[in-house]
């Protein structure tokens, strides 16, 4: 397994390099260093000299990919691409272009509030969704299951924005049970997290319950379930002990792969609840043409996704002894 992991890590390098090149090309097709400078310098009293100064201070006065004026290997290294990308592989994210802040420190500070919302939402959501899905399977072919499916379709047809605004209106404004938005550190965060977690769970019930129900229904028709019933096991025991365990593989695939990306936050949720997470970090950076943050966040996202996939593969071996990594 160690060999497999090492091989997967090595595979990740060309993948990350590709993502990096793609980000670079896409960004600089749309923007030029001059555009970035003008965006950062504002609209008033911006002169050519100020633009040149800005580029020179941030290293954007170099050629993009190839420096024909340089000698030897500097033709490659004295370029914006090399200067801005090489450090990423050592997780040196550098300084943001707009406000000159250390990106790594910002990410470190902002990922915890994101995680504080995303992790409970994932855990509570899993418990709720699996429970409801199993109940629907328990009452399969009854009016309860049909009603449940209809309800799920209705729930998944509603925009997540509606849940957020509706939740804030009902629970925060009308019932006044929790703050409408805000965030605090430590245990004080609890009262601010109740509503976003509740909405996060509720908004995902429709789609997830249907998905898990399909998995369980597939499993419930298998021979071992029939055998379990024939042995006299109760329906609940069969479902919660045997069916659930055997349906874990696809559930794990979906869950483990998103675990590392939980740090990345949710744009809309964090924006509406004023949660100081990473959700809006990339979008704000794109809007302000801050290439330093964009490349750092895209790179980080890719790394986390690769880790997620790797963890999924490893988790298969833990859940299903028949799976061997080779």
């Amino acid at each position: 397994m160690i060999q497999y992991i090492i091989r997967r890590v090595l595979y990740a390098f060309p993948l990350l390099m590709g993502v990096n090149i793609l980000t670079f090309v896409l960004f600089f097709i749309v923007n030029s260093p001059d555009d970035m400078a003008r965006m950062q310098l504002g609209q008033k009293h911006v002169t050519e000299q100020a633009v040149e100064n800005w580029k020179q201070q941030r290293g954007y006065d170099l050629p993009l990919l190839w420096n024909s004026k340089a000698e030897g290997k500097e033709k490659l290294t004295q370029t914006i691409f090399y200067q801005k990308s090489a450090g990423l592989f050592l997780f040196r994210f550098g300084i943001s272009d707009s406000d000159r802040r250390n990106i790594a420190a910002d990410i470190q500070q902002r990922m915890w509030p994101s995680l504080a919302v995303a992790l409970p939402t994932l855990i509570v959501g899993l418990l709720v969704n699996i429970t409801f899905a199993l109940i629907m399977v328990l009452f399969r072919n009854s009016y309860l299951e049909h009603a449940g499916v209809v309800l799920c379709v209705i729930l998944m047809s509603v925009s997540s924005l509606f849940y957020i605004i509706g939740g804030q209106f009902l629970i925060g404004k009308l019932l006044r049970l929790v703050p409408i938005s805000g965030y605090e550190g430590g245990f004080s965060a609890l009262k601010f997290l109740i509503l976003p977690v509740l909405i996060g769970v509720f908004s995902a019930i429709g789609a997830n319950v249907r998905w898990y129900r399909t998995l369980f229904l597939e499993e419930v028709e298998k021979d071992y379930v029939r055998t379990a019933r024939a042995k006299g096991l109760s329906e609940t025991r069969t479902l919660f002990r045997h069916v659930l365990k055997n349906a874990m593989l696809p559930i794990l695939t979906g869950v483990v792969v998103v675990l590392p990306t939980l740090f990345m936050g949710s744009l809309i949720m964090e924006s509406f609840f004023s949660i100081p997470g990473l959700g809006s970090y990339t979008i704000d950076a794109i809007n302000s043409q801050d290439f330093a943050i964009v490349r750092a966040m895209v790179f980080l996202g890719s790394v986390l996704y690769v880790i997620g996939l790797l963890l999924t593969d490893i988790s298969y071996t833990l859940v299903d002894p028949r799976v061997r990594l080779s």
Binding site: E48, Q57, D99, L144, G172, L177, P276
Partner: protein
């Protein structure tokens, strides 16, 4: 027996659960405000709650230049002058200075000239400023010293820096007296290329020796500039300094009221330049140091920023005079009392308007703007067109303050364009016709909820030279009828089109419909109605308007290259002087030729001559006359369709005191007072939690479970057929 036992256990568990739920509910009821987003202990303190939607990028006064940055730094830093809080028109008063600057004119040899000297004789102007003794900086680690008088934190080791998380991790702080040299040092900072001040390029044209100094220190560390002299800026003694500018530029005094010219202790740069601190985001941009009424106690622009009252703030009192009517409004009730009144200001990040608005209605924000979503909920118009609060707002005791901003939005013509540009009578008439056809009164009503005033010329109300009533009307677009300006009929515009050679919008030479191009960055779906509206305005004249949507970068490129034909642009005043608006049409500021702010590339020698004359004059009858002549020129030439001056609408709760919009000053916070008792009472009354729907939902859920349980039991018991 066992089933009886288990039943008893279930009953016990259920009873415990009910007790826990009841305890939680009762506990919650004890706190009448479960939805309070702030710590309970702040309830009756003099804390002001504000919000911000965009994180400030720079808090270094040499770099900050946007309103969201000024909202903070104007409370922390103190330039020598400020705008009087109550008086109108806007008037400069001393802040840290002992009086207004002493102004001396010099000829090219450096000899003093009389104050009445001709502009052509004046080679330099000296501004001599004396500051008050005894003003001290806020307590700050940058100024902390040990018993021997050495700075504690100016030589931090790598290990010490490594242990730092924030600036607050440095336990000691110090202060010192503000001296004239700090103002001199800050002006040198403006010139340092590494600081990248947005006004550096402009100040090169004014401050003597600024450009040379900039080149001289280009490769120096920031703090090394302290002992390098700049020719035009000198500390004359501990409390007096002189700024020498080229020629005569009376508007320079307004710059001295902006944070760019606030003092900076040299120790700040020595401290923040230590290697490794910027990796921790410990920079001057993040942890400012000033002499103002507040200091930044917490800077987390991702969540909140907190200002606390500066314990070392010098004596400054609430103004004892204002404009007529201020006393009746209670604006002089605090006259003579020491400032500031608020102990703590909490700025919360609110990116979305819906939660922000709801929290304002709950009393958790003291003030709010009005988003278009909430406009109808807050504002109604009377029969005479006046904006008033709705009944729901009045019941809450909310106050409405409106003010026409010192800014203008306009539809610009590229004067280099072969069709709409140039000085020909044909092009002028075409522009005048368009100016009549584009009905900005309608635009304001549809797209701005009536929050604006149609512009009659270049300068907005409140700026010297703005003429009220009939005298201020643009006679090329409006007629004065029944005591008010009335837009000329579209027939007048069509006649002008015919005279311009486009009868019915048909080019008489080509016999083709006239097609014009409107370059804009407004490309979203939300912008579509606005673009359609513009199209319809031009259609009135038979002109086909093609909307060329483009991103911000391409738009800027087009403007720089002069490739746009018609565009929408705006300007917000730096200072309350007509020069700051007329310079937008001054020939040597043309964007294509000189990279300046004259986006339409308007060139008129007569305009330039009058502008050069006007900009150096003191306000008076003669200047007023020249301003009217300038207005006449641009109204006739119509390089712009003068759009509108936006009107700001702000809501404040009844407990918000000393409220008077001041569009030039950014440091109003120190004048604000909060009636904390009234606020606590209102909040408690408005935010009692409502539990019964929650309990009802639980009961309904339990009831729904019953048929499910019954169905399950039936299924378990049924036999295979």
């Amino acid at each position: 027996m066992s089933s009886l036992l288990s039943m008893k256990m279930y009953a016990d568990q259920a009873r415990t659960l009910v007790l826990i739920v009841l305890a939680i509910i009762l506990g919650a009821c004890a706190d009448s405000r479960l939805n309070n987003p702030y710590p309970q202990e702040e309830g009756d303190q003099a804390v002001l709650y504000e919000s911000f939607s965009e994180r400030p990028k720079h808090l270094d006064p040499a770099v900050a230049y946007s309103s969201n940055e000024y909202a903070f730094i104007a409370q922390i830093y103190e330039p020598p002058f400020q705008y009087h809080y109550l008086k109108r028109p806007y008037e400069l008063t001393p802040l840290t200075a002992t009086g207004m600057p002493e102004i001396e004119y010099l000829n090219a040899r450096g000899d003093k000239l009389a104050s009445t000297a001709n502009d052509s004789d004046i080679a330099y102007t000296d501004y001599i400023i004396e500051i008050q003794p005894g003003i001290r900086y806020q307590p700050h680690p940058v100024l902390a010293k040990n018993a021997q008088g050495d700075y504690l934190y100016h030589h931090l080791t790598a290990a010490q820096i490594d242990q730092l998380g924030t600036l607050q991790d440095l336990p000691e702080s110090g202060s010192r007296e503000l001296v004239a040299e700090d103002y001199v040092y800050q002006i040198k900072r403006l010139a340092h290329p590494k600081i990248q001040s947005p006004i550096a390029e402009m100040m090169k044209n004014y401050i003597v020796g600024f450009d040379e100094f900039s080149k001289q220190v280009a490769d120096k560390q920031k703090f090394e500039i302290k002992d390098i002299p700049m020719e035009g800026v000198t500390a004359l003694d501990r409390y007096q300094y002189r700024i020498r500018i080229k020629g005569k530029y009376p508007q320079f005094k307004f710059w001295l009221a902006m944070p760019f010219f606030a003092p900076m202790p040299w120790e700040a740069d020595v401290f923040y330049e230590q290697p490794g601190l910027d990796d921790k985001n410990i920079t001057l941009d993040w942890y400012p140091i000033g002499t103002g009424p507040y200091f930044l106690a917490e800077n987390n622009p991702n969540r909140r920023m907190i200002l606390l009252k500066n314990p070392l703030f010098h004596l400054e009192t609430y103004p004892s005079e204002g404009e007529p009517g201020d006393k009746e409004k209670g604006l002089l009730a605090d006259a003579g009392k020491p400032l500031p009144f608020i102990d703590k200001v909490v700025y919360m990040l609110e990116k979305e308007t819906i939660p922000y608005w709801n929290k304002f209605l709950q009393g958790y924000y003291d003030a709010s703007g009005i988003a278009s979503d909430n406009f109808d909920q807050a504002i109604q118009f009377t029969g005479s067109g006046a904006a008033t609060l709705t009944e729901a707002m009045r019941e809450k005791g909310i106050q409405l303050e409106t003010a026409v901003t010192t800014s203008i939005f306009y539809l610009g013509f590229n004067m280099l364009d072969a069709t709409v540009g140039g000085d020909s009578e044909k092009a002028r008439k075409l522009r005048q016709a368009i100016a009549i056809a584009v009905d900005y009164e309608e635009y304001i009503a549809i797209f701005a909820n009536g929050r604006g005033v149609a512009a009659q010329g270049l300068i907005p109300p409140g700026i010297y030279g703005y003429a009220e009533g009939k005298d201020g009307v643009n006679p090329y677009v409006y007629d004065w009828k029944d005591g008010k300006a009335q837009r000329k009929s579209i027939e007048v515009a069509r006649r002008l089109m015919a005279e311009a050679g486009y009868p019915g919008g048909i080019d008489s030479k080509t016999q083709q419909a006239l097609i014009l191009y409107f370059d804009t960055t407004s490309v979203s779906i939300d912008d579509r109605p606005r673009m359609n509206w513009y199209r319809k305005q031009f259609e009135k004249l038979g002109i086909k308007l093609v909307i060329r949507g483009t991103d911000y970068n391409r738009f800027q490129q087009k403007m720089r290259a002069g490739n746009a034909q018609i565009f929408f642009w705006g300007w917000n005043a730096d200072y309350p002087d007509p020069e700051n608006f007329f310079f937008l049409l001054y020939g040597p500021n043309a964007k294509v030729a000189h990279g300046g702010e004259n986006a339409g590339n308007y060139q008129n020698p007569e305009f330039d001559r009058l502008f050069e004359q006007m900009r150096n004059m003191e306000n008076g009858e003669q200047r007023y006359e020249i301003i009217q002549q300038l207005q006449e020129l641009v109204r006739r030439d119509a390089p712009w369709v003068f759009g509108f001056h936006p009107k700001s609408f702000s809501l404040y709760h009844g407990w918000y005191k000393n409220l008077k919009p001041n569009l030039m000053a950014n440091n109003q916070l120190k004048y604000t007072r909060i009636d904390t008792t009234a606020r606590a009472e209102k909040r408690a009354a408005w935010n009692k939690p409502v539990f019964w729907p929650l309990l009802l939902a639980i009961v309904v859920f339990m009831l729904l479970l019953i048929p499910a349980v019954l169905a399950y039991r039936r299924r378990v018991r049924e036999t295979i057929q």
